[in-house]
Amino acid sequence: MKGRTVHPIWIALAALLAALLLSMLVGSVSLSLVDMARVVAARLSGGEIGADLRVADTILFSLRLPRTALVALTGSALAVSGAAYQGLFRNPLADPYLIGVASGAGLGAVIVLSLRWGYDVAGLLAVPLASFSGAVLTVLMVVSLARVGRSLPVTNLLLAGVAVNSFAGALTSFLLLRSTGELRRAIAWLMGGSSMGGWQPVLAVLPYWLIGLGILMTMGHALNVMQFGDEQAQQLGLPVETTRWIIIGVSSLATAAAVSFTGIIGFVGLIVPHLLRLLVGGDYRRLLPLSLLGGAAFLLLADVLARIVMTPQELPVGIITALTGTPFFLWILRRSRSLPYWS
């Protein structure tokens, strides 16, 4: 059993590298490999980028590289959060948006968009800032509705999550109806897809990603123990309530940060952990790091598809994940009837 832990990680790493490369190489403009190599060489040697290479240089380093980074960060955050929530709630339908991150982020973004902020540094930051705040505030609301003293019962969380999600969704729809001017922009944001380019989003997401996923990576054993139910987990010496608070806290931070810049991208947090479970089993000590790699690879591939499938138009990546995610999910459903991952 120990020998097996080596191989899946290497496979996932290879898949991620392939996806990263693909994301850099593919786009609505096809660059020749020669040009790309020349640009990389020119940069590395600190030399001048000739006029003929300027386009390739801009496309590679100002457009594709930061986008690749952001998509990878988002995909990994969503997949790891999804896996952690599936373990925490002991429910195969759990995803990172269960307790309000998506509905809160959407509401925050739409509020700001309907205020028609002006174009300046503050104005551009307003949308991600508002969606991050919205996400965090919504999770806090769900948690405070659900808690009983110091404990956080799972059923309460689920119910409060459903209630708050539909409330926030209703508010969002109402605002969309009212503000016809920014409707297009708001809908595009809600469908997912990185509308902001450059390195700022990557740098903004990175600290939350590092903290959130860093802590979540250590939660594998705790999640394993929690599969036996709150009672047995506590009798085995696991501080169940503390663990629950921590997982919800860091997971919400990482997901909120990612979603604030890329919009709501569904299915990654739901599908990727299930796929990986089929391949390597339900041990969360393996599932979490593999979800990190697999989630990034999955979303990168979806993003590549979003860029090339209707070129030069770019589809919001949330549409791609939903379209490709659904058949995957049905296939897993059929197969999993013979597999005992959920009793």
């Binding site: 394993n224 599969q227 036996f228 047995q232 506590q234 010496g237 339900g282 009793s343």
Partner: protein
């Protein structure tokens, strides 16, 4: 020695355990019996820290268990629950290994000593051949033995068994209780704290004919109160039991004359 004094536990407004007191010495097996709703499972949950007591104290060797952290408590008390709805994707070995959780770091890494302990526990419960099988494929009896092995690996001075013989065929009931006795008499190699004393076991039993055979002392709970507490001879009395269970019961001698047998009186 586990000392329970005046333990009172409520579910909301309703008291489920009232003023329960008893002692459990190292190496002793205490059977808890009583009709449904008497509070037997509640007692297990209160002792293991799931339900906070309203008043009363639970002490081991003088230490107040309620003042301990979850992890410290888990090093003193292990629970063998009923083998119901265990997560199907775990292997038998993984289930037993989780018993080491109170001693592991946050990442759950097992040392070679831990692994040796796990294998020995599985050998003693006759489950080592199931090590790589998935929980979903195992029978109730096999799962119950796994849970016993898990508690063994937790290497605690006190072990609580909550109706471990329910849903088991007779031969497995006997087998499990035999193994429980063996664990108590011959403790598994410790958790490295140097203590080599015999663990104590509190076992909730439904089946009255097994009680006398396995228990040193018996606690009779009715409606949350201690109705009787003493040796099997003292507690297993027809009048007492008939009143407690609401049907006429007779106590007879086993054919070899060693143990009292409780049987319902057929009209």
């Amino acid at each position: 020695m586990l000392e329970v004094l005046h333990l009172t536990v409520r579910y909301g407004a309703k008291p489920v355990l009232k003023d329960v007191s008893f002692r459990l010495a190292d190496g002793e097996i205490l059977a808890v019996i009583g009709p449904n709703g008497a509070g037997k499972s509640t007692l297990v949950r209160a002792l293991s820290g799931i339900l906070p007591p309203e008043c009363g104290s639970i002490r081991y060797d003088g230490r107040d268990l309620c003042a301990l952290s979850v992890q410290e408590r888990a090093r003193l008390i292990a629970v063998v629950p009923q083998a119901r709805s265990l997560p199907a994707g775990f292997t038998a070995w993984q289930v037993v290994s989780l018993g080491r959780t109170p001693y592991l770091n946050w990442l759950g890494q097992l040392s070679p000593a831990d692994e040796e302990l796990i294998w020995e526990a599985m050998r003693r419960t006759d489950t080592q051949h199931l090590a790589h099988r998935l929980v979903g494929e195992l029978s109730g009896g096999e799962l119950q033995r796994l849970l016993l092995a898990r508690a063994m690996v937790q290497a605690t001075p006190v072990m609580l068994l909550d109706e471990p013989t329910t849903h088991l065929d007779l031969q497995y009931q006997i087998g499990l209780l035999n193994q429980m006795v063996e664990v108590v008499r011959q403790p598994i190699a410790g958790n490295g704290n140097g203590k080599a004393h015999q663990p104590a076991a509190l076992v909730v039993l439904h089946d009255l004919y097994l009680v006398a055979r396995y228990a040193d002392r018996v606690l009779l709970l009715v409606d949350g109160c201690v109705q009787a507490y003493g040796t099997s001879a003292e507690v297993l009395r027809p009048q007492l039991l008939s009143e407690a269970f609401g049907i006429p019961l007779e106590v007879m001698r086993s054919p070899n004359g060693k143990y009292p047998l409780v049987v319902p009186l057929m009209a």
